[in-house]
Amino acid sequence: MTMKKLIYRELYLSKKNILICLGIGCMCFLFAVLLLLSCRFGNFAKYNEPDEIREILNAVSAYLPIMLYSIFMVEGVDAIPNQIFTDRLCGWHKFIRSSEVKAKDYVGAKYAAILILFAGGTLLMFIVCPVFFLLSGTKEINLTGLIAVLDFVLFFTDYNLPLFLWAKTREKAMLWSSVPIFAVALIGIVAAPLTAAKFNDAVLIDVLIEKYLNGNFMQAVCIVFGILAVLLYVSYRLSVHFVEVEG
């Protein structure tokens, strides 16, 4: 009950962000449809070869999911830490700690709200993209891009939430706590493709790119997300600790 109501509060206060996401999402989809119409009946159809048109539509098809996904992801990443900041300013943080709500519920609601926003983004992508695929006859998806977006978002969630829960101002937070958390997260991200790579004579960066894109792709992905999931849990525990001990 407590968690449910607290999640409701987080989402209610993120309402503006969600509406902005939906608005931008609709505009992206509309833009893609207009491009499609132009490719079928307009100037694009008139001045381009069929192969070129196919490439344009494939590119739109590949990047539309990323755009839709990243809008929700980035908004989610931004909305909840901002909410923590506002909670501090308006005194909700102190109020909730003076109530019977446990730190793990207060923090848990924030993590849950972010995950719900992620799920919302995924759902949006799964609803909108098939419609475009049907209309355009394409079904290219830039999986690497999608995974990179999710990877980026989880990474920022991992260090943003404890950061904002710990500090009274963003500046102070950035100054003191971002460095170690950032370093740990970075090690995770770099370590994943490294462990998946076989070190031949290639330059390290080539190995990273190659393994990410071709080689042991799924293995690298699993390791990256495994590490990020562990970091997410550590981040959650750290946040609870900050709320309990540091206030």
Binding site: T2, Y8, K94, F95, I96, S98, E100
Partner: protein, 292 residues
Amino acid sequence: MEYENAIEIKNLTKRYDGFTLDDISFNVPKGSIMGFIGQNGAGKTTTINCLLNLIKRDGGEVRLLGMDIPEKEYEIKKYVSAVFDEMPFNEELNAVILDRILAGVFSQWDHKVFTEYLDRLQLPSKKKFKDFSKGMKMKLQIAAALSHHARLLIMDEATTGLDPVVRSEILDIFLEYLQDEENAILMSSHITSDLEKVADRVSFIDKGKMLLSGVKDEILDDHGIMRIGKKELADIDREDYISARVTDFGADLMVADRAEAARKYAGALIEKTTLEEIMLFYVNRNKTFEAS
């Protein structure tokens, strides 16, 4: 729950760089209002934060409603309400949404009581809090604090900055709340006139030290202002007064034992005093200061 004192603080200590809350002890019996007075920065908020376990204390014991903090923290907090100087609810919310949220925050939340308070305090339920006046925001906070059947109300400078009409309305609600003798209020403020109206007991803190704590009427009866001429000041024993205020017309001395002072300095004019004056003279204790 069996307890005599809603709050029991023994030797509470909290150290910061440049400030120490030093060995604070006082009790708030159930059925009473304790006025917690002191200047800004005296340590009132630090004491309240320690009471609510919002900050870790360095020493001493705290018991609320007969239970230890922090051992039974969450059990205790079911029956405790805290009201702060600023409204803690996001300004994008309205009372209807807040009602839903607080139903999840407090296990004993009473929607009916909250709605009744909204009606009584004439608070619009669908208006966003950003459009509320300061008085309305405070009333809303009080309504929320009293809508989950709390046994102890802890208020930190909650009436500061409010106009007399709103303050009076809020004080009336507190007196009504204390009709149930199981309830108690700790009210921190530097507006002593409010406390003079409603408090049963008073604790006075200054620079982290407790200077006075006891029944308000006894404190007011015991203390007095002795008005004398400037030349007579030298004839008064230093240990007989807390501090002296020099005016254009003479000197005012705060005495802690009015009856004894009247006996010793027969003929001297000794008048009743107020909490505000007691606070002023104690803050300037052991010195002679000029009236502003």
